[in-house]
Subunit: 341 residues, 2 copies
Amino acid sequence: MGSSTGGRPPVMADVAKAAGVSHQTVSRVLNDHPNVRAETRTRVLEAIDRLGYRRNMVARALVTRHSRTLGVVSFDTILYGPASTVYGIEQAARDAGYFVSIVSLRTIDRAGMRDAVNYLIEQGVDGIVVVAPQRSAASALEDLSPGIPIVAVEGGHTGRVPVVCVDQAEGARLATAHLLELGHETVWHIGGPQDWLEAEGRIEGWRDVLTAAGRKIPDVLPGDWSPRSGYTAGKHLAGMADQISAVFVANDQMALGVLRAFTEEGVRVPDQISIVGFDDIPESEFFSPPLTTVRQDFGAVGRHSIDVLLGQIEEGAAEVLERFVVPPDLVVRGSSAPPGA
Amino acid sequence: MGSSTGGRPPVMADVAKAAGVSHQTVSRVLNDHPNVRAETRTRVLEAIDRLGYRRNMVARALVTRHSRTLGVVSFDTILYGPASTVYGIEQAARDAGYFVSIVSLRTIDRAGMRDAVNYLIEQGVDGIVVVAPQRSAASALEDLSPGIPIVAVEGGHTGRVPVVCVDQAEGARLATAHLLELGHETVWHIGGPQDWLEAEGRIEGWRDVLTAAGRKIPDVLPGDWSPRSGYTAGKHLAGMADQISAVFVANDQMALGVLRAFTEEGVRVPDQISIVGFDDIPESEFFSPPLTTVRQDFGAVGRHSIDVLLGQIEEGAAEVLERFVVPPDLVVRGSSAPPGA
DNA sequence: TTCGGTAGTGTTATCGCTAACATTCTCACT
DNA sequence: AGTGAGAATGTTAGCGATAACACTACCGAA
């Protein structure tokens, strides 16, 4: 409100003068230092309120050498998975008393990754979370030794950076096993982009289950997460519908494309072919038919990544090269059924 | 790489010593000051490289009084619209040489808004973009006079803060007019949450067109953006399918719910009832049938909001209380057709 | 009474940088 | 050679906060 400081925002010294104390006492009040008389404290707080004083965190960060701000590096922040992850991270950080500065990279290369991390370090963040679901991003992260705490989300575990992720292979196992348990002879798979670690993990889990059950392992159909790529793969599968009874699709958006292709080609789901997706996007429940899928708990991923990061920052746990794995859940809906139902 | 500074990261003075110049000269090199001899410049750059020096932007921000960082306040950052908007803002900011610090509010109230804005100001951001699609958020913004440049995205225009938004009413007009042109007698509407300005704008545009054409204006069916609410409304509409031939749904997710409900009830789209959505999410093209919808250019919204904000910051254009409106596009697909087709 | 401990407060130095001013160096032109 | 303008560089003084230490008052114990 009222400022007797002549235009510019009041600083600590102005508050000190107004309260008749030293600026250090103001600082003590602001930082909840115990050795301040109650009467003095209220006088200072009153002066702060009267002058509309706001602490300059930049000056504070300069001297304390930490900013209570975390950096987040991310790609493709419009995709449901990354968007949810970033949201989870932001909320968890704020619950822990930290704020986040976000850099969304358009392209994934070493230079971009390096620039982003450097920028965040220059800004004085206390730690960095890198959402690096692609192999290239994860490896770009590897040959960076930033000198500040860092944690990778959904990245590959290569030993230099702790990783928090959802167990992709386990999710794929749940999906594939579910289809086999329904009685399907084998399960086809539409994969995500080659470069994505998640895509790889899902292939791995799917293949594991088929191998363990001694089933034929069909070729992986390529996809790029987009509904269109699922549509294309779906058209292809529809052409050989008589040899196929179950498909595990690497994400829900592609599964939607498959459903569309099957609808166009007159392939009935789940009567002729069962479909299981991955992600459980909010739409999946209302696909026709509602999609059986694997749910990932992005909130938990965000919380764990912040836990790990703050562990490094606050306890100085130098070499916590851990790997936190969040388990996925199978959500059974109408797109999966016994064969020939 | 090598640091002869004994553990702690090198500072400008270290570089200066290594290059045999004063720290001020190092500063000049870093800030592209013209009056530096080319030979000196390379010597400094070489020293920077050798020591692995990184400028401390916190110290810089303290003295220059600006951080080249913008704050973003947002809600519901997982919804497609807000997520895309925030992404657009982040990209535009970075293209302009700024970085962003993001606060995602969980709840929308005055206190939350005030805290978020205060936090960002304390952090020393040069300006703030508030993604405030709800009436409550927009009004919380109003009685804040933060003393720094600020711009609202998708907020209501109340005169104190410049606004950038997509023309919701125009989008609704396009959708409704499209349905009337196909020959439908009137158009029903499933609206978004009461509190959202976008929901209101869409109702307004829809009503305008019906009024202008002298058509009956049905009651608005309530929705909350979620597929489930669309499903519920769809069930209701299916029960009176013989009196209805066209529905304009306030977003694509709800339209999906409607499609699902219609499928369950045996209502054929677009044969019996045409449907038009809003947003053009990536999934819409692969709904069954593919959804006719209204596309919003979130990238343009991001760019404009940054333009307006930087206008205030850099040109000090104090009272630019403008309103930038981005036009939407109608995307016609298979869910709309002439009645009784 | 004297002393040490501690609560409450003030003083000074410092974080790493840029702005402002001071100084030196260069060179064209008298 | 002498001069002055301007380029190149150095020196000093902050930015606004916290840390470290110094100081005063007051207490109870010796």
